[in-house]
C-alpha cells in the first residue's frame, strides 16, 4: 500500500494539569512527570516528524505549560519548519512566557474555556481559573498570535452556546471551536452526567449556525456535532494512520489520541523506534489502514470511503472489538448500544473529576 505523508502531529508533552475537567480525553492511567520524554527526545521527534512530512504541530497535554521547556520546543519546531499551535488552559501563560514563545516563533495559541458562566466554569475545572484565562487571552491578542478558543460542550453548558460565542468575540478570538464531548477516557466514565439531550444539541447547532454568518471574516466558528445523535458516524480523521499521529507523554505513538483506549493494540515508543518506522511499519498503525479489516456492513457499504467505518476507539470502547462498525451507525444492529446510552443518560447524574493523584476506580 502506498503510504501518505502525515500532516499533523499532536505532541502530548505531559498529562500534568492544574485543572480537573471531567471530560478530559487523557487516559485514566496518566503518565507521571518522571515518565515523560525529555526535551532532547521531543526535539528529535519534531525533526523526524518534519522529515516524514508533518507540517502542523500541536503542543498539548495535560497543560503543556507545566513543562519549563515549552519555549525551547516551540523554537525547535519553528526551526525545522513546523506550524505550531500551543493547546493550553491558559493557566501559566504569563506575559514573560508568552513573549518568549513569540520570540521562539510559536504562531497559534488555543485557550480552552469551560463555560461563559464563571461559576459554572470553575465548577467543571475543579478550580478558579477564569481570571487567568482572561488575562492569558488578552496577552495572546496583544502579542499578535493567531488565537483560538475551544469550549467542550456538555449537558450543563450547551444551553449557553450563544453567550460563549459573544464571550469569544469579546476576547478577540480568530477562531472558536465548540466541540461536543467525545466519549473516551474520563468523558466515557462520566458520559451519563455529560450527555446533552437531542433538543439541547439541535438548539445549540441552530445558534452556532446563525452566529457563523454574523462573525464571518472576523471570527471563524467551528461547531463539532456530537455523534451519538447522528445517523452515521464521524469520519475517522481521513482514515486511520493516514494524516495524523500523536505522541503520548511517555513516547508511545498512536494514530490518534482515542487509540490509547484500544487495549488490544500495542503502541511502539519513540524511545525505541524512529518515528518513520512507527508510521510505516508498526503493527498499531497498520491495524486499520485500508478496509481489509472491516466487518459487514462496512465492508460492502459505499459510505466506507466517507467515514471509514467510523471511530475505531469508539467501536472498541463500546463493543470490545475494534473491527466492528462504530455503533453510532444506524446501519448496524450495534446501534442499540448508543440508543440505550442516550436513554440512560436522561436523568440526573454526578461527575467524577479527573485527579492525577487518585487511582481511577471503575464502577
Amino acid at each position: 500500500m502506498l503510504l501518505n505523508h502525515p500532516t499533523t502531529l499532536l505532541a502530548e508533552i505531559t498529562h500534568r494539569c492544574p485543572l480537573h475537567c471531567p471530560y478530559c480525553s487523557n487516559p485514566l492511567e496518566m503518565t507521571r512527570a518522571d515518565g515523560e520524554l525529555t526535551t532532547e527526545d521531543w526535539t528529535r521527534v519534531f525533526t523526524e516528524a518534519r522529515e516524514l512530512g508533518v507540517l502542523q504541530l500541536g503542543l498539548s497535554g495535560g497543560e503543556p505549560l507545566v513543562r519549563p521547556d515549552v519555549e525551547a520546543l516551540a523554537a525547535h519546531a519553528r526551526a525545522v519548519g513546523l506550524y505550531t499551535t500551543l493547546v493550553t488552559s491558559g493557566v501559566g501563560l504569563t506575559r514573560p512566557r508568552a513573549e518568549k514563545l513569540r520570540e521562539a516563533g510559536l504562531e497559534h495559541i488555543q485557550i480552552s474555556f469551560q463555560d461563559s458562566d464563571d461559576a459554572a466554569a470553575d465548577h467543571v475545572a475543579g478550580m478558579s481559573a477564569v481570571p487567568q484565562k482572561r488575562s492569558a487571552a488578552a496577552i495572546v491578542r496583544e502579542l499578535g498570535f493567531a488565537f483560538s478558543i475551544n469550549v467542550v460542550l456538555h449537558r450543563a453548558n450547551i444551553d449557553r452556546v450563544g453567550d460563549m460565542i459573544e464571550m469569544a468575540a469579546s476576547l478577540g478570538a480568530d477562531r472558536l471551536e465548540l466541540a461536543n464531548t467525545q466519549y473516551y477516557g474520563w468523558a466515557l466514565e462520566n458520559r451519563n452526567a455529560l450527555m446533552p439531550t437531542r433538543a439541547q444539541v439541535d438548539a445549540a447547532a441552530d445558534i452556532a449556525e446563525a452566529a457563523k454568518g454574523r462573525h464571518r471574516g472576523r471570527m471563524q466558528i467551528v461547531y463539532v456535532l456530537p455523534d451519538y445523535h447522528e445517523t452515521y458516524p464521524k469520519p475517522c480523521y481521513g482514515g486511520w494512520g493516514k494524516h495524523y499521529l500523536m505522541v503520548a507523554p511517555d513516547g508511545r505513538t498512536l494514530p490518534c489520541h482515542g487509540a490509547t483506549h484500544i487495549t488490544t493494540l500495542r503502541f511502539d515508543s519513540v524511545r525505541d523506534r524512529p518515528l518513520r518506522w512507527i508510521w510505516e511499519e508498526s503493527p498499531a498503525f497498520q491495524a486499520f489502514r485500508g478496509d481489509a479489516w472491516m466487518q459487514e456492513p462496512c465492508r460492502t457499504c459505499p459510505r466506507k470511503a466517507i467515514d471509514f467505518g467510523g471511530c475505531r476507539c469508539q467501536a472498541f470502547a463500546l463493543t470490545g472489538d475494534a473491527t466492528n462498525p462504530d455503533p453510532v451507525c444506524t446501519l448496524t444492529p450495534l446501534r442499540t448500544i448508543i440508543d440505550r446510552a442516550v436513554q440512560d443518560a436522561a436523568g440526573a447524574h454526578v461527575y467524577r473529576f479527573r485527579y492525577l493523584s487518585l487511582e481511577p476506580q471503575r464502577v
Binding site: 505523508h5 522529515e51 502542523q56 519548519g81 497559534h108 493567531a146 480568530d174 477562531r175 471574516g217
Partner: protein, 89 residues
C-alpha cells in the same frame, strides 16, 4: 462572499505560503489546517498581494499560459474564500 473580476483578494493574515521540501510542493499553513497546492494554485496565490484585483491576476497568468483564465481564478479563489482563507482586501 461572491468574488468577481474586480474583487481584490488577499490571503488571511494568519495563513502563510511555504514550500515543503518533503513533498516538493507549495503548501498553505494556517491555524489547524494545511492546503497542499498544485502549481497553478500556488501561482494564483503568489499574485494575491492585496493590491491586485482578480482581473489583474488573471491578466498576468493569461499571458503566462496563453489563454483566458479569469473564470478559473474566480473559481479557485472562491473555494478558498468559502473557508475564509482568502478575504477581500
Amino acid at each position: 462572499m461572491t468574488l468577481t473580476a474586480t474583487s481584490v483578494p488577499v490571503l488571511w493574515r494568519l495563513a502563510r505560503l511555504e514550500f515543503d521540501p518533503v513533498r516538493k510542493q507549495r503548501v498553505l499553513l494556517y491555524p489547524e489546517g494545511v492546503v497542499l497546492l498544485n502549481d497553478t494554485g500556488a501561482a494564483i496565490l503568489d499574485l494575491c498581494d492585496g493590491r491586485r484585483s482578480i482581473g489583474d491576476v488573471a491578466t498576468i497568468l493569461g499571458e503566462r499560459y496563453h489563454r483566458e483564465v479569469v473564470d478559473d481564478v474566480i473559481e479557485y479563489l472562491s473555494r478558498l474564500a468559502d473557508q475564509e482563507l482568502i478575504r477581500v482586501a
